[in-house]
């Protein structure tokens, strides 16, 4: 077991706890940079998709895990990012502009929907974002002059300074870059007053307010940042699928994003990445075992969503820390072996905390 001896406040502010962390993260990045040279096109493509989901996961983690606000409408932000990026590209705007434009425009949409709805707490926000998502989904379908409706929208191949970003490998590298950027932004937020204000709002609005935090402003900000990062993911998603269909951005996708956050483990950036891995692997795993399942379960139409539902239920009931919590427990078990303590991770008994306004 490693004990940290702090000699400087700077150590608390660093993004890694010690040199070992830095080494492993570096190794991971190097590994990810090399992978496309060693793997087939299909796996590179799937990994690229995983990065895109991880971006959305991190952005939603900031909102749900750190600010304590739920959103069931993030697929709409993904869709807005995807369409803004693709429509601008089709008009001849370079990718280097369309990608940030997609992020910024989606952030504005997030703030616009966020500002009025943020006076509401958990439940109302869930319902409002659900409604927002379905309205945006309908707009994608009906605004055929821009989105092409159900005919779909072919996404042009992007290029950066004349170098075309082609195939799975190109999207893979861009997505990896954006993912690292998004994680860096989020980590920075969390070590500065803005991120702490969000955590404060999550845990106690009343005392956050008395500490000088403008609650509505920070909630809207969290919403805007989260939406904007999801918009970036959306722009990349457009290139990942290459052909935009309006019904891709439905409630189920939003639920998948929230599943990433819950299964990964609330309140942890690692968790968002773990969750994204899980959510992307599950359909693959189903595809592999589909034909071997008894009673024709494998060919059941609603198999995937119901499995997501089941996992979500099991995680919330039995493993509220998610995969990240499980990982921490395992690590602790090995580090402390054989001095395992039952009480280390025992959950505190808690009571219903009323959010009701009295």
């Amino acid at each position: 077991m490693r004990y940290l001896f702090r000699t400087d406040y700077r150590q608390d502010m660093a993004l890694w706890r010690h040199k070992g962390d830095l080494f492993w993260y570096g190794l991971l990045v190097v590994g990810l940079l090399v992978i496309p040279m060693a793997m087939g096109e299909f796996y590179v493509g799937e990994l690229g998709g995983l990065f895109i989901f991880a971006i959305a996961g991190v952005s939603l983690m900031l909102l749900v895990g750190y600010t304590g606000l739920i959103s069931l409408g993030h697929s709409a932000f993904l869709g807005i990012g995807a369409y803004v990026n693709s429509v601008l590209l089709a008009k001849g705007v370079p990718f280097i502009v369309t990608l940030p434009a997609a992020g910024l425009f989606t952030a504005l949409c997030g703030a616009a929907i966020g500002w009025p709805t943020l006076r509401m707490s958990g439940l109302y926000l869930a319902i409002a974002t659900l409604a927002f998502g379905s309205i945006v989904g309908t707009i994608f379908q009906k605004w055929t002059s821009v989105t092409g409706g159900f005919d779909g929208f072919p996404v042009p191949t992007p290029d950066i300074f004349g170098y075309p970003i082609e195939g799975a490998t190109g999207i893979y590298y861009v997505s990896l870059l954006v993912l690292i950027f998004v994680i860096w932004l989020t980590a920075n937020l969390l070590r500065t007053p803005v991120g702490r204000a969000m955590v404060a709002i999550r845990d106690s609005e009343v005392s956050a307010q008395s500490m000088g935090i403008h609650i509505a402003r920070y909630k809207a900000l969290a919403f805007a940042i989260s939406a904007g990062m999801t918009g970036l993911a959306g722009a990349l998603f457009a290139h990942y699928v290459r052909y935009l269909a309006p019904d891709a951005f439905d409630v189920l996708l939003s639920v998948q994003f929230v599943t990433i956050v819950f299964v990964g483990g609330l309140g942890s950036i690692h968790g968002a990445v773990f969750g994204a891995i899980f959510v992307r692997l599950l359909p693959q795993a189903i595809a592999i075992v589909r034909d071997d399942l008894p009673f024709g379960i494998g060919r059941m139409p609603g198999l995937e969503p119901s499995l997501f539902g089941l996992v979500l239920v099991l995680v919330i009931l039995f493993q509220p820390g998610g995969i990240n919590g499980l990982w921490l427990k395992t690590k602790h078990w090995f580090q402390a072996f054989p001095l395992k303590r039952q009480a280390s991770f025992r959950r505190q008994k808690s009571y219903a905390r009323s959010e009701r306004l009295k």
Binding site: V64, G68, L69, I70, L72, P116, T117, R119, M120, S121, G122, L123, Y124, A126, I127, A128, L130, A131, F132, S134, I135, T138, Q141, K142, E205, V206, V255, V258, T259, F262, I297, M300, P301, G302, L303, P305, S306, F308, G309, L310, V311, L312, V313, I316, L317, P320, K349, S350, Y351, A352, R353, S354, E355, R356, L357, K358
Partner: protein
Amino acid sequence: MEDAARLLQLIVNGAAAGCIYGLIALGFVLIYKATEMVNFAQGEIMMLGAFVAYTLISHFGMSYWAGFLLAICITAVFGYLLDAVVLRRVIGQPQFAVVMLTLGLGFIFRAAAGIGWGYDPVGFNTPFTNRTVGAGSLILGQDNVSIIVGTVVLCGILFVFFSKTRVGVAMQASSQNQLAAYYMGIPVRRIFSLIWAIAAGVAAIAGILLSPVSMIDVNMGFLGIKAFAAAVIGGFGSIPGSVIGGVLVGIVEQLAGYYLPVGFQEVTSNVVLLGMLILRPQGLFAERMGKRV
């Protein structure tokens, strides 16, 4: 004259659809008032209730009314167990965790219904199917009228239950102050499970009343999303408010379907919901209050 009749027709159809939304919303409100949880699977419970009635009536050859009552009871027991076995475990977790939990349960119920009853829409014969009542130039489907009458009767029963019976009063007390109710010797946990049972029973009634109007299939639970608009209009705290809210949503939706271009009808309830939350989040009937410290 014909326009007026058509308008009236639309309003009655809308009110009938709205009663269904109102009944589902009523379940949301009951559970929310008592436990501060929102059951996103309420629409799926309605779907299960309708399927149970279908099995009892079409497969076991029960009469409509016997199947109706038994299906309500079975669904209510299911609701009770759902709370006792699953929801009780998440007390103290953040509200959005409960939202996701019930959302997940909804997916599971839909899959379970798909396995049990298949993915093809089904229906059963009711005394109201394909019959009409006429009043002057106005011709109304008995199915729609039965929904409206059924909702009114149910609201009456619930009103008497909550104001006159011991259990009903205990439920009201537990909703208003859990701790005080507990000290008064009310078994708060069991009361909460009973509230879930009532909410599930009401959802089943909604499903069965709806069955002559639209077929039963695994996706009928998505109606629950529209019911949110109803509950929000009612301020998420008022039982009559949610039913009135439901009727309003239903009527607006019908009118939008007739007077606005295609495609607007589906989003009407969502637009109403968002507009309501932005302009008057406390609902039409509730007063605004602040958290105590």
